[in-house]
């Protein structure tokens, strides 16, 4: 079709026209590659010169080190930062804690989002569906810091949670400054990122497939397990990419809600940045990158990208 337009465009060049701009326009119109280059050069230059270069600098920085006395960056190539990250027991624990947390958040969000999305896609009336869709979109866009801070207000000693527990005569539960607070807040913040792709996947399942399953004698549970779940899997995997990746690299939520034990990959990288040891932070930042690459390749092998 594109080619078709170009041909007709070329034909219209036969019309008489004048002026330098027209000639430039005509010249460009006859040379699609020139137009493509003109369009693509600025954005690609931006991404290559700024973003990719930044990632490369980050990678290189991970092989440099900071002079412990002068705090200056020294361009001496070595593997010390990586050795430090992978041999210090505390750092290994932090990595384990982060991955465990990210996995936990992903599983909980999947379990919470699936029935919600299922109701939206297959039970709700059209009107309710629209309302629910907006209801899930609004928290998605509401300020990130607000969402973290909200949980501070819930969990704090004189907060809503303890007040409510007091009303039903249950003891105070001091969740603030614990990993539980961090965990719940993460589940909360990333929930819409899971719910939307799962809903999109469920919405696309043709009703005829479910009817076929029922005609063949499949009960609710059997149909869910053998028909709906496999067809919704790409959506679940797509959602999990967000819940997992976003949890892996966050340092603000642990800082605001967590305690002394709430040290995660992001926190280590952020602390090294604050203490002028960017090379160590850079080496630490390679960990979530590596994990996400493996994760994305795995998701791709599952056919998640192709199916979506």
């Amino acid at each position: 079709m594109t080619q078709n337009i170009a041909d007709r465009g070329a034909a219209s060049e036969a019309l008489p026209r004048s002026g330098a701009w027209s000639r430039i326009g005509a010249a460009l119109w006859r040379r699609p590659w020139a137009r493509a280059t003109l369009l693509l050069t600025p954005p690609l230059a931006w991404f290559l010169i700024i973003y990719l270069a930044a990632l490369v600098v980050l990678l290189i920085t991970a092989f440099w080190q900071t002079n412990p006395f002068t705090s200056n960056l020294e361009h001496i190539w070595n593997l010390q930062n990586f050795v430090q990250v992978f041999t210090t027991p505390a750092y290994l624990q932090d990595i384990g804690r982060t991955v465990g947390l990210a996995a936990g958040v992903t599983v909980v969000d999947g379990l919470v989002a699936f029935p919600f999305a299922y109701y939206m896609a297959r039970v709700a009336t059209r009107r309710t569906r629209t309302v629910l869709y907006v209801a899930i979109l609004l928290p998605l866009w509401a300020s990130y810091l607000a969402k973290v801070y909200a949980w501070q207000l819930v969990f704090t000693k004189d907060g809503v949670l303890n007040w409510s527990l007091g009303k039903v005569s249950l003891g105070p539960l001091n969740l603030i400054n614990t990993n539980w607070a961090v965990f719940i807040a993460f589940c909360y913040i990333w929930l819409p990122y899971m719910a939307i792709p799962v809903y999109a996947a469920l919405d696309r399942i043709p009703a005829s497939m479910i009817e076929a399953s029922q005609d063949l004698g499949g009960r609710t549970w059997r149909t869910t397990r053998s028909v709906i779940l496999p067809l919704a899997l790409p959506g679940i995997v797509a959602g999990s990419i967000f819940t997992f990746s976003l949890t892996l690299g966050d340092y603000i939520t642990p800082q605001l809600l967590g305690g002394t034990n709430s040290v995660f990959i992001g926190s280590v990288a952020y602390t090294s940045f604050l203490s002028n040891n960017v090379p160590l932070g850079a080496a630490m930042a390679m960990v979530p990158i590596a994990i996400m690459i493996v994760y994305l390749l795995g998701a791709r092998a599952l056919g998640a990208f192709r199916e979506l």
């Binding site: 300020s143 907060g159 303890n162 979530p288």
Partner: protein, 276 residues
Amino acid sequence: MESAGVKVALRIWVALVLLFLFVPILLIVVYAFDPATVESWPIKGFTLHWFNVAWHDPEVRDAFLLSVKVGLLATGIALVLGSAVAYALYQFSFFGRDAISFLLVLPIALPGIVTGLALNSFFTFASVQLSLWTIVVGHATFCIVMVFNNLIARLRRTPGSLAEASMDLGARGWQTQLYVTLPSVITALISGALLAFALSFDEVVVTVFTSGAQNTLPIWIFGQLRLGQKLPEVNAVVSIVILLTIVPVLLAARIAGAGAVTRTARAAAVQDGGRK
């Protein structure tokens, strides 16, 4: 196929999820009207005092103005660069096309700490002083994809026959672009711009690494939360920020349809990159 029991269970579940989604956010708004200086539940009365305090706080004003400035500049850059890529990828297919759409998503698909630390190392490496412009550069980099996603989705839905008809009727290239293509995609451009602005206005994870001495509004809020200072004022500011981020999103949803404002449209771009 769902039995009555299953339906009831699903309804209860949906109601619980909605409570879970909205109660914490609304809590901040409620606290913003609390006259007490130390937050404890239930609130002690009703006052607009903290909104007044926030309004007259020069730090908040400066931070707010900086955020607006950064948001507008980043959105402007994102509009130009994002629509250029969208047009190019829509009109031409060439080797590496999918790699480009994948590249555009990277800044928001990779954990924020990676993008932030990378940009910071880069600015240090290139001896660039952190300033308003380094913040703008960071924000524009991840705002481009918002414009791109919205525009390319619209271009793909717009029938090519319209442009063909225009040219058959003798319109020149630029006339077709201006009078036929642009009007059919303008709402997508506006909604992309609104989303880019909302994303920039709210961003904190990357901004921490790209702002020097200046505070954007989220950075100011983060600072107060970290130190546990001025919390009643923070309640008022955050309530306004929630409003200010949600309004552009609702507008965008109205203009271009709710489907356009899912941040998970990122996923679509990722899978486009992986598909072919």
